[in-house]
């Protein structure tokens, strides 16, 4: 399946990456090439095959105890922020 400019534009919006008009064209081209190439997977019969999302999927998920051990580290949390005020992160206004 080829990826057209409007699709690139839609996924770029979903991914929150600004893409210029010229780049839309280039990306549509590149992604089409990659998508066309990965579609060779269609040759593989995967009927009844369970999807594998981890190579360690048969081990038991380790769990933590319900104890407060962390989180009292405000300065670490805010250390690298470009804008803070009174202990808050400050970000451009959200317009609903």
């Amino acid at each position: 399946m080829s990826v057209d400019k409007s699709t690139v534009s839609r996924i770029a919006q979903l991914a929150r990456i600004k893409v210029s008009e010229e780049d839309l064209e280039v990306l549509a081209d590149e992604l089409s090439k990659i998508v066309g190439w990965v579609e060779q997977l269609d040759e593989v019969n995967t009927e009844g095959v369970p999807p594998m999302s981890s190579t360690v999927e048969n081990i038991i998920l380790r769990q933590r105890d319900d104890v407060v051990t962390d989180g009292d580290c405000k300065s670490d949390i805010l250390e690298n922020a470009s804008q803070t005020d009174r202990g808050y992160f400050v970000v451009p206004k959200v317009i609903e």
Binding site: K18, K33, V56, N80, S82
Partner: protein, 490 residues
Amino acid sequence: MTELTDLTVAEAQDGLAKGEFSSKELTEAHILSMEKFRGLNAFITETPERALEDAEASDKRRANNETGPLEGLPIAIKDLFCTKGIQSTASSKMLKGFIPTYESTVTSNMKADGIVMLGKTNLDEFAMGSSNETSYFGPVVNPWKRLSDERPLVPGGSSGGSAAAVGARLCLAATGTDTGGSIRQPAAFCGVVGMKPTYGRCSRWGVVAFASSLDQAGPITRTVRDAAIILQSMAGLDLKDTTSSDVPIPNFQSLIGQDIKGLKIGVPREYKIDGTDPEILDLWEQGIRWLKDAGAEAVEISLPRTKYALPAYYIIAPAEASSNLARYDGLRYGLRAEGKSLAEVYENTRAAGFGSEVRRRILMGTYVLSAGYYDAYYLKAQKVRKLISEEFATAFEQVDAILTPSVPSAAFAHEEKDDDLLGMYLNDVMTVPASLAGLPGISVPAGLSSDGLPLGLQIITKAFDEETLFRVADVLEQSASFEARPDLRV
């Protein structure tokens, strides 16, 4: 006496133990090399002052008989590991100037074991690439050159800075991370040993994530024994990483120097991939003979879905990456671009902060996960991944290890593959299958091309069987007795 920078890890440990030299002397020698060969651009951040302080502290500990397993060894860290108080960038403009308040588990382990950190090595941006050309901080130069021309070559990627630094003797060893071949491929290109452990051996905590189900840290060294020594320190159960394994960790170094008599070595016919450099195929044949000469039995095996590993990888890894990299939005750390609205700030930040390869992979990943495409691409790829994993499992009922080439070609020149997106991806065609299955793999330098470039062979074993991996790799290394070294001129 050999130059201090020529020592292997094992030799350096010996010399330090015998008091032939101090950690400070060893460190100074490496800092000098780093300065001398700064043109390779192997480091993003050099930390010489800190290294010297650490070395002095190490010498004091040694004087007090408080030595750790890696006491006083100058080592470089891939800049994908977060290091407390030291800029950690993932080679991205996005994280330029980001100073973590925390230390990754792997580097914590190594520090606790006594290493001296020389600095943070260059890599492909967010570890996405096979040539180190996607780094925001400029490409790394491979210490090796072709006999036929003087063009600078790529060191491979993504752990290109680490491989180049080890190859050029700027450090005794370095850490790398491998998602689809990012340790093994650059190791092959730079004539060094690169080892990717079983997924789960090393904690991923504090390592900037690329593709969580694939990312795995490992050592890059000049010998197999050194890889065993360094991995011993890196590996271990970490309760902060649910995917880290509690499988007992053997003494890796004890596997060095054992024989491989009677071991069955699988030779998968599907790795005779079209377009592979014939010299590499010849070297592979040679490798089989070496192992047979050492008493192993070569068994031809079939891994029929090998060719589908790469396309499956190029769905799964970008999909995970598209989500893993969503946190880089400029709001809490890292680059924040201007914009008239929040939406603009997001879009401008992520357009400015990510380079073109990263943007491309995020878009690819977003695409394959998006409504209407999930089943056709992502789910399909996961099923193929399952089949590939099962194929390996079946093969390992028959054989103890698998021998393949590491990469289908030797190092190429900068910008040589710029117009060839898929050609670039093909670099990982031999390393990706084991990554998808979570298996350990190691690239061992085994010969030189007729044009004077190092070539590597890869050994793969079953999950958590690093013992066999090191045994076979060691024998291969002994047989190949690869002693060539790059002709480095300033």
